[in-house]
């Protein structure tokens, strides 16, 4: 089990080259409007981003994909891939996420060689699926026999830690501040997992209006560090 966990940790590393570090998912709009400008305001943004967006989209999808994998229900997975992509109304974050998913899939297919990953690639090739990092991640974690709860937890951790790294560069924050935030954020992640376990399919895709607006606004930002 330890080797398998280590194997998944590789995927959680914010240095894993999926291109996630080029996407701020609207954070850059908040930074430019000076609404996120220090450790406290970034922590506030990170909480809303996790509890009001990721939980209902990537987080819930990760759980549902894991459950579908346990039931060998591939149709459900392709359906979730479709839903996850189209519920993302801002074009830039939708296409950005798809690019990250695609790169993550290529890399993980090479590293882990799981057949489900090859099947996912086939579906994308046939234009039956878009590609999404939460789905690739859940497939890998399931393949490595990581539990459902841990799969969701580690996925959220990886998504959040890339944003912390982004904030360190863009706000900017000191490296110590970045690490402090990651550490203080641990209880938030566990709380998010508990919430995701309780959600139903009807909760899927609830958006937080301000976060979504910031993602749309970013498409019109001229000077930028991030692609979204």
């Amino acid at each position: 089990m330890n080797n398998q966990l280590l194997s998944l940790f590789q995927l959680c590393d914010s240095n894993f080259p999926t291109g996630a570090f080029s996407h701020s998912f609207g954070l850059e709009s908040y930074i430019q409007e000076n609404k996120v400008h220090n450790q406290e305001t970034f922590f506030e943004w990170l909480k809303v981003y996790l509890h009001e967006q990721l939980v209902y989209s990537d987080g819930l999808a990760s759980r549902l994909v894991y459950e579908a994998l346990m039931n060998d229900d591939l149709q459900q997975i392709w359906h979730l891939d479709h839903l996850l992509t189209i519920q993302n109304l801002p074009r830039e974050t939708r296409e950005g996420t798809q690019m990250i998913g695609d790169r993550m899939l290529k890399l993980t297919e090479t590293i882990y060689g799981l057949s489900i990953l090859s099947q996912y690639r086939e579906e994308i090739k046939k234009k039956n699926a878009f590609g999404h990092p939460a789905i690739v991640f859940s497939m890998v974690a399931h393949g490595l026999s990581v539990t459902k709860q841990d799969t969701i937890l580690y996925y959220l951790y990886s998504a959040i830690s890339s944003q912390v790294q982004n904030a360190v560069r863009a706000v900017p924050l000191g490296q110590t501040a970045g690490q402090t935030i990651s550490h203080q954020f641990i209880p938030e992640l566990s709380q998010a997992v508990d919430r995701i376990i309780e959600l139903t399919k009807d909760d899927f895709g609830i958006v937080s209006p301000g976060i979504e607006l910031s993602q749309m606004k970013h498409e019109r930002v001229n000077i930028r560090i991030f692609m979204s």
């Binding site: 908040y30 609404k35 996120v36 305001t41 506030e44 943004w45 809303v48 981003y49 009001e52 967006q53 209902y56 479709h82 839903l83 992509t85 189209i86 519920q87 109304l89 801002p90 074009r91 830039e92 939708r94 909760d203 899927f204 895709g205 609830i206 958006v207 937080s208 209006p209 301000g210 976060i211 979504e212 607006l213 910031s214 993602q215 749309m216 606004k217 498409e219 019109r220």
Partner: protein, 274 residues
């Protein structure tokens, strides 16, 4: 769910260049007024109305609209949708709209006003064939309470699903629960009180249209925040946060005029109310 408080069904078709109702049916607390033709385009306008004046505890409303090939229709409401307090069961509205190829349908309801302790859920499902054009707007207000306090409602949940050419192309889910969320805060309403959404689906959507709409909205002078983006299917969406219904209406009217001229080569008909 078969026990509807009010239900309405309207089937429209094109008859020699004029859009007419092939079938109209309504029962209970839901009504459609007689058709109005505001110009010689053949486009028909229907006002929907809730004779009860508002949605009450446990009310269930259902609306089915279909637009046949070549028909052109505007659907609107006579006044704001009011949802009163719902102590036992939430009020619910379900709308299904079908657009055949070559049809044009715009659904532009008045704002939603949820009263203190109101819980409202709305599900809108739209099926659009290739070659049809659909325009939708909605405006969420901070609701109403006797002492003027904002966001005293319990829950407002809007789910919109748009199928394009048989496939789900738009999934929009808004659920505001002011008692449980920091509603005015960062990530939510950001200090604003009103939320407007516009969704437009048409194969005639050029990237320049979005630039033009963006510039037009930017020239509006009141205090608001907005975003515009391409959908995953041909079309776009706009979201606006503002402090008054009128601001959002003014912006949407402007966008409606721009887009109508592109799509229909004429300005939209004015919706006279009150």
């Amino acid at each position: 769910m078969t026990d509807w408080t009010g239900s309405l069904s309207l089937e429209l078709e094109d008859r020699n260049g004029k859009t007419v109702a092939k079938r109209v049916y309504f029962q209970g607390a839901f009504k459609v007024m007689r058709p109005i033709y505001t110009d010689d385009s053949g486009q028909v306008c229907y006002y929907l109305l809730n004779p009860g004046g508002g949605y009450l505890d446990g009310d269930r409303y259902k609306m089915d609209i279909s637009a046949d090939e070549g028909s052109k229709v505007t659907l609107t409401t006579q006044s704001a949708t009011k949802v009163y307090k719902t102590p036992k069961n939430y009020a619910y509205q379900e709308t299904v709209i079908r657009l055949k190829k070559g049809s044009y349908l715009e659904y532009l309801p008045d704002p939603l006003i949820a009263y203190q302790n109101a819980h409202y859920k709305q599900k809108t499902v739209v099926h659009i064939e290739r070659g049809a054009t659909f325009l939708y707007t909605d405006i969420l207000t901070p609701g109403w309470s006797p002492n003027g306090e904002k966001f005293t409602y319990d829950t407002v949940q809007l789910m919109t699903e748009i199928y394009w050419d048989g496939k789900l192309g738009v999934f929009d889910h808004i659920k505001l629960m002011p008692q449980q969320q920091t509603i005015s805060g960062l990530g939510f309403m950001e200090g604003y009180t009103h939320l407007g959404s516009m969704i437009a689906v048409s194969e005639q959507t050029e990237p320049e249209y979005l630039d033009e709409l963006y510039e037009a909205i930017r020239s509006e002078e009141s205090d608001f925040s907005f975003g515009i983006s391409h959908l995953a299917i041909p079309g776009f969406c706009i979201r606006i946060q503002a402090n008054a219904t009128q601001t959002i209406e003014r912006i949407f009217n402007q966008c409606h005029t721009i887009i109508s001229k592109k799509w229909n080569h004429r300005p939209p008909s004015s919706l006279r109310k009150y």
